[in-house]
């Protein structure tokens, strides 16, 4: 299949970025907005065409989706190791192309309304394009190093976009935090790559993932501290993924990242970048599955499950709607990880894998929708906090409807998209590990609860006094809402199991009615509870909060993780490490050097008495010298 035009998909945003970046000052905002949108539009069309071509025309050869690779050497390390740049076409990358394109396009359109009148409008679109480019590069990566490169690039564009309001201290801090935390995770990723490269002699996904390949067959050849070195490598790589996907305990940057403009949160911190971690694990899935019988994979599963639960609990108590959404994102990502973690490889075994990808797809749609909805609300009331909202449904109907759809979707209520993907996940987990299954179900309930908590809080509940009447957002913002709402409704009916599976063969997925029923019931319970607590204003919620007391406090303070990290960085690293080192350098190392110099000068000061000016002393020294030399060299040293 011809991949030439796929190359254009990442390149167009890059061109747009350079265009807008370099002529930042000279381009009129309106124009730059159009340029950005147009660029993305082209990319989107191409992606969809590529998807059509791949899934329905060329992709499948005797029942198995082929992998198409186009690559060229970018840099040589040694005769064997080298970094390639290229495009890697297989089901998940094509699927990701579609996801990224659609969401990104929607966000572009949305931003034209949301960011209107902001100075740095052009800059904003430049950064968005940069991000889209990096994200495309990431999903199309052909080898570990290429993915790492774009991994870093999405990281930096996220940094730039979070810090977009750079005059706000909090935004700057958040951006810094996001970058450094993910950077720390990437350290693990990098070391993992080094290990892979050293022990397998290649970075290529094709070679690494080949079930008959050397990497997978001889994983046991070298071991370190009881585990195969490759397992260590995979674990380290997963740390990288966990950092990007805000898995516990590297999640702390995600809530703060909400300092960025809302469209950014929708695009980067809900739909696309944060799923990169999931994508990474999926990309290396065969290795995770086969090496050491999926030891690393189990870690993925448990981390995912825990994060899902952890985040869901915190989400209940947050009052900043964007933060609620942030934690919900984290929780859903946990779901995806969990699904991957419990998945098998071939045939129906690979249900979890499929489900995870499916959920990634649907989640992208409805979470983006949620964020954009929240954005339009915030745009209307100029605040992030629930207390400033309420009863908005009559002011902004479209937002209301779309938000409701999204909420239903995420709560897994049929027939919305979330229902199908979540159901698949739960089935997969159920087949693998009952405990995790219950966790999953519980989280599903919590999800429904907190989601409707904010839904009711925003659109129903008592009306707060608005200094100026909120109004529905302009078409440029509502159109994306509607479109995404549509996707959240229809998305579920895509027969994912035919397209995206671990062994690329595809299988017949069918609803597991009892489990589905359970999930739905739990979801509904959550909604009902939320309805009881928050539909009409009542002090039930507060009473409940008081009932839990300290526990509630903990959760609303996110279990003090920020505090812990702050302690480690500020108190330990800065005060206990950096400061002493700086002191040591100035006083000990530099001191020694100065000491050498000063002591020389001092010595010369001390011995000046020798030159006494008395000719007789000179004569004495003269004779003494002679005598000493004589004694030493005539008697002592004479051989």
């Amino acid at each position: 299949m011809n991949l030439g035009y796929i190359l254009l998909i990442p390149l167009i945003p890059l061109v747009v970025f350079l265009l807008l970046g370099i002529f930042n000052q000279r381009i009129k905002p309106a124009i730059s907005g159009y340029i950005g949108v147009f660029g993305l539009l082209v990319s989107t069309i191409l992606s969809c065409y590529a998807a059509y071509q791949y899934f329905f025309v060329h992709g499948k050869v005797n029942g198995v989706y082929q992998t198409f690779v186009e690559k060229t050497v970018w840099m040589n390390f040694s005769d064997t190791l080298h970094i390639d740049m290229g495009i890697f076409i297989d089901p998940i990358s094509v699927m990701m192309l579609v996801v990224v394109s659609t969401v990104s396009l929607m966000v572009h359109i949305y931003s034209r309304g949301y960011m209107k009148g902001d100075d740095g409008y052009t800059k904003f679109f430049a950064f968005l394009s940069l991000f889209s480019f990096s994200m495309y590069g990431l999903v199309l990566a052909t080898n570990l190093f290429q993915i790492y490169i774009f991994w870093e690039l999405v990281g930096v564009s996220s940094y730039l976009l979070i810090g977009y309001y750079y005059t706000k201290e909090s935004a700057v801090a958040a951006a810094k935090k996001a970058f450094i935390v993910t950077r720390f995770a990437d350290l693990g990723f990098l070391i993992g790559i080094l290990i892979m490269g050293y022990y397998t002699g290649t970075y290529d996904f094709e070679t690494l993932n080949d079930p008959e390949g050397n990497a997978i067959l001889n994983w046991a050849s070298t071991s370190f501290m009881g585990l195969s070195v490759l397992t260590w490598g995979l674990i380290l790589i997963f740390i990288g993924g966990a950092g990007k996907s805000a898995m516990f305990p590297l999640h702390i940057w995600l809530p703060d990242a909400m300092e960025g403009p809302t469209p950014v949160s929708a695009l980067i911190h809900a739909a696309t970048m944060v799923v990169a971690g999931v994508f990474l694990v999926a990309r290396l899935f065969p290795m995770y599955y086969f090496i050491e019988d999926g030891f690393a994979l189990n870690i993925v599963a448990f981390v995912g499950a825990f994060s899902a639960l952890f985040a869901a609990i915190i989400a209940i108590t947050q009052t900043d709607i964007k933060r609620v959404l942030a934690f919900s994102t984290m929780s859903q990502l946990g779901y995806m990880m969990l699904a991957l973690g419990v998945s098998g490889y071939d045939g129906h075994e690979g249900l979890g894998y499929m489900a995870s990808m499916f959920h990634l797809f649907t989640h992208a749609m409805f979470k983006a929708l949620l964020f954009l909805g929240a954005g339009s609300v915030i745009h209307a009331v100029h605040s992030n906090y629930l207390k400033d909202m309420g009863g908005l449904r009559k002011y902004m109907p479209i937002t209301n409807i779309t938000f409701l759809i999204a909420a239903l979707a995420i709560s897994g209520v049929p027939p919305f998209a979330g229902f199908f993907s979540k159901d698949e996940i739960l089935v997969a987990v159920y087949e693998h590990n009952k405990l995790l299954y219950f966790v999953g179900v519980f989280v599903a309930g919590l999800t429904a609860f907190y989601m409707f908590r904010i839904y009711f809080g925003i659109f129903w509940g008592k009306e707060t006094k608005y200094e100026h009447k909120p109004h529905e957002s302009p078409i440029s913002m509502t159109f994306p809402l509607l479109f995404l709402a549509l996707m959240s409704i229809l998305g579920g009916f895509i027969p994912f199991s035919d397209f995206v599976t671990a062994d690329k063969a595809g299988f017949e997925a069918h609803l597991n009615y009892p489990l589905a029923a359970v999930a739905v019931v739990v979801g509904l319970i959550g909604i009902v509870l939320a309805w009881v607590f928050y539909k009409k204003e009542s002090d039930l919620a507060d009473r409940l909060a008081n009932f839990f007391g300290p526990l509630y406090q903990w959760t609303s303070d996110k279990f003090y993780f920020d505090a812990i990290y702050l302690f480690i960085t500020k108190k330990i690293l800065f005060k206990r490490v950096a400061a002493p080192i700086a002191w040591f350098d100035r006083n000990i190392v530099d001191g020694t050097m100065n000491l050498i110099g000063n002591s020389t000068v001092k010595t010369s000061e001390k011995i000046k008495g020798m030159q006494s000016g008395k000719v007789q002393d000179y004569a004495f020294a003269f004779m003494a010298g002679v005598v000493i030399l004589a004694i030493v060299f005539v008697y002592l040293w004479a051989e």
């Binding site: 970094i83 774009f150 690039l153 005059t167 990098l190 080094l194 080192i581 700086a582 190392v589």
Partner: protein, 495 residues
Amino acid sequence: MDILSLFITVPVLTILALVFTKGLRQARIVSMIGSLIQLAMTINLVFAYFKERDINQDIMVFTKDVVWFEQFNIHYAIGVDGISVALLLLTAIVVLAGVFISWKMSDLPKEFFISLIVLSIGVYGFFISLDLFTMFVFFEIAVIPMYLLIGIWGTGPREYAAMKLTLMLMGASAILLVAILGIYFNSNTDGGPLTFNILEIAKVNIPFEVQKLFFPLTFIGFAVIGALFPFHTWSPDGHASAPTAVSMLHAGVLMKLGGYGVFRVAMYLLPEGAQYWSWFFIILAAIGVIYGAFSAIKQTDLKYINAYSSVSHLGLVLFALLMLNKTAWNGAILQSLSHGFMTALFFALIGMIYERTHTRDVRKLGGLLKVIPFISAIYVIAGLASLGLPGFSGFVAEMNIFVGAFEHDDMFYRIVTIVSVSAIVVTAVYILRVVGIMLMGPVKNKAFLSLEKVTWYEQLGILLLLIPIVGMGVAPLWISDMILASLHPFIHGVP
């Protein structure tokens, strides 16, 4: 006049021309033209080199050998391989940028530019010479002008800084002298004549005992100027006191002499000594990498921050050299180049900021992104480049170093590697700290609101440095292959 000797003669002519100039205007024009010619020659050399390579597979090409002191068998022997070509390119660019940056050097301009060019002569000569003696001569020629440059045109405790820098570097070169003599008098173990010629010495195998004795001297002698811990303390003070252009040249080019010398002399002539000692020096280098990064976190003076980051980055160069394999060496050279460009760019920007705000204290600065967007934006880019972001030269170099270092078969080395890799996080911390405090946030000082915009010569200087950084970062293949190809012969001594 062969293509390489021109690299010495053109600057000399420039100096002669400078002697007859009057005032700043003429001086800067003349030196600009001089360094422009030099840059043109370098670019020409790059192409000439590729053409020559196709037909000539010697270790060194464009070689020229003139007997100088017959009794000692001292020759004026010059020649280049891919590595020296790359470093010459670095030098030419940085020098030209330096001239642009010191466009407004009002105090004793003529003398300033003359000393600058003298320094560059030393560097050019060092990179092209194949004879230990001439190499040493050029080394000292490159170092000594620093005293005047810092002492006369510097700021702050300039006399102290200049004296410290000069003495430490000359002390190192003195140690180096002993080592060179030691190598010289053992260069005839296979019965040939004593020689200073590197290529000749490389052919004979110097006895292991001798290598064991002289490798540390050679290594330290060169590594001090490469800011090896704990001999790096001249660099922060020196950089802080030096005028902008000098900091650029010094950090950008002069400190590279260390890595290059270690590679060309210590590693190439004393490979077994290197084997024997690497574990020890690798620890020092690794300490330097981490330690420099951490010290940079606590600094408040921009130049100090940059100086310590240089300690960290150049520690990485020595670290890679000691790993004794091609990939790491390639990384070391690339790191030298990329650090050269980046740190020069940093110092240029710091100079501009200092000129405008009259302070280098980050705590006093803030919100510059709003008032001088161009400079600040470039500063952000430079920062991202130096924390090793893909798409910039730093990433390419560091990846080579880490991959290469990890290729080492000894577990100890790989663990040390992992330790030093963690520096990339610390680097991110101190870079983003500065960016956060200085460029972002609200404008701290009302006076900043009326800062003058960037001027054309400043922009030229910046672009000169930025283009190679991005170029190397986006398309590293040609340069890294050029270096790799030149590394083949050097690997021989290294098991």
